[in-house]
Symmetry: C2
Subunit: 399 residues, 2 copies
């Protein structure tokens, strides 16, 4: 898609953004509300109450309640893993992997996907209404962690009457949640599949996130986080943040294959600051499309949660201690061209799991598509996922 | 240096910025002005006239005029390669390499460093006064290319009465200029040293530049490029651009070694959006320091020049043709951890030079410091530079 430069300076169509806003409190999803009797403990100290979780389910829970699979989404994902997205109208972000007859087979399994704590698609986040004020939380929402997100998910799983999950599966930040699940609730996770992830966020990744946050906070329309109260929108800052992040989701070679130095439909350079190169208009489009469906403050909260993630830190600095005595079986996956979460990051987890005596398999998949590989058509990845989930189902006696 | 978050929201000390502004027309450097009789041909079409070049020289031109070495600076560099910078008060950016007794020995050689066309330290650029209006050019300055920069430098070299340069040396964008010199003026370059560079800018690099430009242009104080006329300053946008770029100048491992996940001088996470991690405050400082010495529109122009650079494009798509029949001797250098301009980029140039029958040596230097290695203390790089320059001097008969 070609996005001329003028599109980035003009005000965009607001209906999509308003639709996204509407999702914050009243999403197009199932919602479970936790009241004062079930507060959420936060790593920052104190509790969050009341709060709600928005989620989607696919398939049917069997009588033994043994066929539930929890999907954990990445930074910019949400609960709409395998259904049409209510705001964008696009397919779910993991329809490649999840659906009837697919590797995560919704004909066999009861699949749960929830919006993370701090998100903006219906789980309590900074754009949700603060019941104490009747106004959006903004930065009054406490900063949340990956462990907080997982604690909330465990309450959702409780609510659904599921004692033990057949599998927890997720990529990138979703993979962090999978690792946290295995560490926090080992007895509740039969099989864990952390994909394209790490047990802690690297300095380089923190740096990229900080650039994104600064881009948002540099936008005068951010208004110290009070833009929803003031009727403004830090769209340009968030778009820049997304553009920078998007580069890190691809590999140099995939960018080269996709765009090279190809120009837009023009005869040559315009000798201007228009988007001469296809890669420029692609990035501008990525930035613009993102702000129609994502909340700027949520971007701050969720990136911060990733930055704070350091699983070993909660276990005396020894990652293996996070998995001590774990009966969970693990399958880790990395992609060769992923420079955001590298094979070395996955290997560090594998080594810790080995040291903890856990059952673990690991696949490094050849791909030139970078970090986003886990969302794309990667047959070897699909085959590995299918095999791992099938084996877990057989072991538990799920048909 | 620790930069608390409040520093990024407050207005900063303006004297440094005003000092930088003063450099645009009346720099603390030698200046040569080219009038209507010597217009500069531009790749965008048309000419630039009048225009000026600001430059520094070190050492003494010998009687034979055979000991001149031209240094070409990178994106954020300038002519102050080996003297205290007039705005920042810091050492020149290449004092590691250039000075009395150093690899580029100013006791033996006459070293020239000029500010590039489109820059902001005294060579005509967007912050220079447009003689037609008496106002700063802003975006009325035509977009310039690497070839335009080199064409201007050749006029400076003419002005200095030098027919043939002993060597042209530069890294990153400076290396692009070196390649362009060798292609445009082969008979004027005895030895060429393109360091950590490429014959064309990759899609990924264009993408990072586009993010930086969008960050600048998203800043409402940019005012369509007319901020100097309107008394505003797109400081925050330029700082974000610099932060994003700075990550690409380092390697993951150098960031890890330098910062890891170390926190600022606090006991733990603040659970806020302050700069908890050292890498965050480092980046914020990099962004802030940059805007005190660099013009936002120059950032647009100079990044654009790099994006447009595709040397083979001017020679029927065959890079070797750029160097056909060249007598220039080449020494290329890359650094193992440089992911912005990789060894593969340098190798592509080496292959083209080989195909053209040129005399070429190539060194890939082991370093974990990323792209910025060429500016840092790299003894092997120094030794190679010294050897290459010495050999050239011997061949030409320079004592």
């Amino acid at each position: 898609m070609t996005v001329p430069m003028s599109d980035t300076t003009a005000l965009r169509d607001l209906p999509a953004y308003e639709a996204a806003r509407g999702e914050a409190d009243n999403p197009h999803s199932a919602v479970v509300r936790f009241g004062a009797d079930t507060p959420l403990q936060l790593d920052a100290g104190g509790v969050l109450t009341p709060f709600q979780i928005a989620y989607q389910t696919y398939g049917t829970l069997n009588a033994a309640r043994s066929n539930a699979i929890l999907l954990c989404h990445a930074l910019s994902g949400d609960q709409h893993a395998a259904n049409v997205h209510p705001v964008t109208g696009k397919p779910g972000w993991w329809e490649t992997l999840v659906g009837p007859g697919k590797p995560v087979d919704t004909d066999r399994f009861f699949v749960i996907a929830s919006n993370v704590l701090g998100g903006c698609l219906g789980t309590t986040g900074p754009s949700s209404t603060n019941p104490a004020t009747g106004q959006p939380y903004g930065l009054d929402l406490p900063v949340v962690t990956i462990r907080d997100m997982v604690r909330a998910q465990a309450m959702l799983v409780d609510h659904l009457g599921i004692e033990k999950l057949l599998a927890v599966v997720g990529g990138s930040m979703g993979g962090m949640q999978v690792l946290q699940w295995a560490a926090s609730y080992p007895e509740r996770v039969f099989a864990a599949m952390p994909i394209a992830t790490a047990a802690r966020h690297s300095a380089q990744n923190i740096a990229f996130h900080e650039v994104g946050r600064q881009a948002v906070m540099a936008d005068p329309e951010w208004r110290g986080g009070r833009y929803l109260n003031e009727g403004t929108s830090p769209r340009r800052g968030l778009a820049v943040a997304r553009m920078a992040a998007h580069i890190t989701y691809m590999s140099d070679s995939s960018l080269h294959r996709k765009f090279g130095r190809r120009l837009q439909d023009r005869d040559g350079h315009t000798f201007s600051f228009d988007a001469d190169f296809q890669v420029e208009s692609y990035l501008r489009h990525q930035g613009e499309a993102f702000v129609d469906r994502f909340d700027a403050n949520s971007y701050l909260y969720v990136t911060r949660a990733m930055d704070y993630f350091d699983l070993a830190g909660d276990y005396g600095g020894v990652l293996a201690n996070a998995f001590k005595g774990a009966k969970t079986r693990f399958c880790l996956v990395s992609f060769t061209s992923d420079w955001l979460f590298t094979t070395a990051d996955s290997r560090a987890v594998v080594h810790a799991l080995n040291a903890a005596g856990a059952q673990v398999s690991f696949a490094e998949i050849e791909s030139d598509k970078g970090h986003d590989s886990f969302l794309l058509d990667e047959p070897e990845f699909f085959a590995i996922t299918r095999g791992f989930i099938d084996a877990a189902a057989r072991a538990v006696g799920v048909k």
